[in-house]
């Protein structure tokens, strides 16, 4: 099926109506993708994640859908954009949010220039074949530019929603975020979906995001993967950090049948800081794969990365976290932690932290654990009358709730918490109710 899948996706890419000024990107992508071979279990980077189920499906190109169901986060003060089946839905988007972005299709010549300057250049050669596929298919996208010393008051909330059509479809989305010197912004990339509302269909989203955080600028980036369990999601996030810049990322993997997310962070100039948290909670037969790679190319940069996962039922997750300290990256401070809980005997986790250090004056630490719950924590709860089963649920949820608590946006935390709690068969109303009334 592998060759057929490549041919099929290539056919779809060639079927788009291209933008003239992006044709060279399309051509390059199509060429690279045509030459690609689909990874197998023998491909090191895909060892634990099979694409078989994805290649089994015959995809069409997505058709625009008039009325996408795009969830609203109650209480979230944000500028909201809705991208429905890959198309920006201007009627469902806030006017203020539309002001903040340039749609590739509508870009004026000077904006085209700015887009081309960024497009593909953060990603560079680092993307795998699905990034090539994204290039091959690109005929629209969103460009967010935060100008020098500007501060975006409210987060930009981009909701990607897919509604079932005649046949399963592929959506290639592209997002570019550029923060100029001294600017600040919060961007929420939200991949949504709900089989009961959107219609159950095995749609495939292939999302590429390229981010450049300029000198002394700060980006808070939430990437929430909350798609329906029938969906497929492959994501590439590429981040360039300039001098003294700061990236704070939160990556959530909850939805879709198959998720593969690659996150690549480049510390390009000194003084930049990357703080990245991630949570994945696959259930049933979901497969979630996070590959992160932080490139410390220069001196005096810091990275603090924490990913936690809880695997239930027959779910499977992979976390591969690489930190690469180049020879010039003296005085680097880098920490990577990955902790996992398996709730059943049939759940699976493959964790591999990789620290590659070629500089001698650095402080780095990494750790990965796969654990059962802490005995002393469980005993503490039991000694207060709470049953062992309830204690396990509370502790499992607490394990990831700790990272949710670190979210800066309270409304977002309040909205996400019950969705996660539900995965543990827990009625989380209590917690919200209690703290709400306090």
């Amino acid at each position: 099926m592998a060759a057929e899948f490549i041919a099929q996706q290539l056919e779809l890419a060639k079927g788009i109506s291209p933008l003239a000024w992006l044709e060279s990107t399309n051509e390059r992508g199509q060429q690279a993708f045509a030459e690609a071979t689909l990874p197998t279990r023998k491909t090191e980077d895909w060892k634990y994640t099979s694409l078989y189920n994805l290649t089994e499906i015959g995809f069409a190109n997505s058709a625009p859908h008039a009325q996408a169901h795009a969830p609203v986060v109650p209480g979230l003060q944000a500028n909201r954009l809705v991208v429905a089946n890959g198309e920006l839905d201007t009627s469902a988007s806030d006017a203020a949010a539309l002001e903040l972005v340039v749609r590739f299709r509508d870009a004026r010549p000077e904006q085209q220039e700015a887009i081309r300057e960024l497009l593909g250049n953060v990603k560079g050669e680092r993307g795998h074949l699905f990034a090539d596929l994204n290039d091959a298919s690109i005929n629209d996208g969103l460009f967010v530019l935060i100008e020098k010393n500007q501060r975006l008051e409210h987060p930009l909330h981009i909701v990607y929603a897919n509604t079932a059509g005649d046949a399963p479809f592929t959506v290639n989305t592209r997002l570019l975020i550029a923060l100029e010197q001294g600017s600040e912004a919060t961007v929420i990339e939200h991949y949504a979906g709900d089989d009961t509302v959107d219609g159950k269909q095995n749609n495939f989203t292939n999302a590429v995001t390229e981010i450049r955080v300029g000198d002394n600028a700060k980006l808070v980036h939430y990437r929430l993967q909350l798609m329906a369990e029938s969906a497929f999601h492959i994501g590439g996030t590429f981040i360039d950090l300039q001098r003294d810049s700061r990236y704070e990322g939160f990556h959530l993997g909850l939805g879709s049948a198959l998720t593969r997310n690659d996150i690549i962070v480049n510390h390009n100039v000194g003084g930049s800081h990357c703080e990245m948290n991630g949570v994945y909670v696959p259930q049933n037969k979901q497969v979630i794969d996070f590959h992160t790679c932080v490139e410390h190319k220069v001196a005096h940069c810091t990275t603090d990365e924490v990913f936690r996962g809880i695997m239930n039922d027959k779910a499977k997750a992979t976390f591969n976290g690489r930190i690469h300290i180049h020879p010039d990256a003296q005085k680097t401070l880098a920490e990577l932690s990955n902790k996992n809980l398996l709730l059943t005997n049939t759940a699976e986790i493959n964790t591999k932290p990789e620290l590659e250090i070629y500089a001698d004056d650095v402080q780095c630490a990494h750790g990965a654990t796969v654990a059962q719950l802490e005995e002393k924590e469980r005993f503490y709860l039991q000694s207060r009358g709470i049953s062992a089963a309830d204690a396990e649920v509370m502790l499992s949820f607490g394990f990831i709730n700790e990272l949710l608590n670190s979210l800066n946006d309270e409304a977002l935390g309040l909205w996400l918490r019950p969705q996660l709690a539900k995965r543990f068969g827990r009625d989380d109303d209590l917690s919200a109710q209690l703290s709400g009334e306090l």
């Binding site: 503490y380 709860l381 062992a388 209690l434």
Partner: protein, 253 residues
């Protein structure tokens, strides 16, 4: 209230309790003192049912029921409460939610109606105030980032919420300054009544100035080697434990 007979227990195959006898009547406060390594903390953990503390002989009967075969949560619901020497921090689990789950479980066992969240909050706020903890502590993770004294006060608050019939205070005074000790002792004293008993485990006599016991026992080498009134604590303070550890190993009641 609780009757402990010839209790023997081991930890990692090492015998720690070697035939401990203790009878505590309703409303009584018994202090257990002893040198480090005598088995003082083991006693609390064994009674509370901690994993890894293996009972190898004897019995412990709480209100007429043998508790040694019960799960830890069942013992708690039967009215046993262990205030930990080192309460564990559980980030991510809200203190409030933990307390509610705990109170719900214990009330259910006691046949009392469940509290709704408004009633519970009222109660929790009240107890928070009683132990001089700011209400913000209810919202935080269980013991997360609490100071030593705050952790002990959180233990005390739990005790007040659960209204157990037997409270075991495991070295509650360790690491507390006089002010914090005073708060904890006031809370304990306020809870003393004719139907509630206490086992106060401590290494230092100082605590007993604040929580005055009815009886004092010395635990050494896994047995009670001497028992007496509160004045025994003063004697121990003066003479240390050495004179009891050597030779006199007759179990005292």
């Amino acid at each position: 209230m609780i009757e402990i007979k010839d209790l023997k227990a081991s930890v990692e195959e090492k015998d720690i309790l070697k035939g401990l006898n203790l009878n505590i009547g309703p409303g009584e406060v018994h202090a257990i003192m002893g040198p480090n390594g005598a088995g003082k903390s083991t006693l609390g953990n064994v009674l509370a049912g901690r994993e890894g503390y293996e009972v190898t002989g004897g019995s412990a009967t709480l209100n007429g029921k043998d508790i040694l075969d019960l799960d830890p949560e069942e013992r708690a619901r039967e009215g046993l409460f262990l205030a930990f020497q080192y309460p564990v921090e559980i980030p991510g689990v809200s203190n409030l939610e933990f307390l509610k789950a705990s109170v719900d479980a214990v009330r259910e066992q006691q046949g009392k109606p469940a509290l709704d969240s408004v009633q519970f909050l009222k109660l929790a706020r009240e107890k928070c105030k009683a132990v001089n903890l700011d209400q913000s502590f209810l919202k935080r993770g269980v013991n997360e980032g609490f100071s030593g004294g705050e952790k002990k006060r959180n233990e005390l608050m739990q005790m007040m919420l659960l209204e157990p019939s037997l409270c075991i205070l495991d070295e509650t005074d360790s690491g507390l300054d006089i002010d914090a000790l005073q708060v904890v002792a006031d809370g304990v004293n306020a809870m003393r009544d004719a139907n509630r008993s206490f086992i106060v485990v401590t290494h230092y006599q100082r605590l007993l100035d604040y929580i005055v016991p009815d009886y004092v026992h010395v635990l050494a080498n896994g047995r009670i080697v001497k028992s007496g009134g509160k004045e025994l604590a003063l004697e121990l303070e003066e003479k240390g434990y050495g004179w009891l550890e050597n030779g006199n190993e007759n179990g005292a009641e």
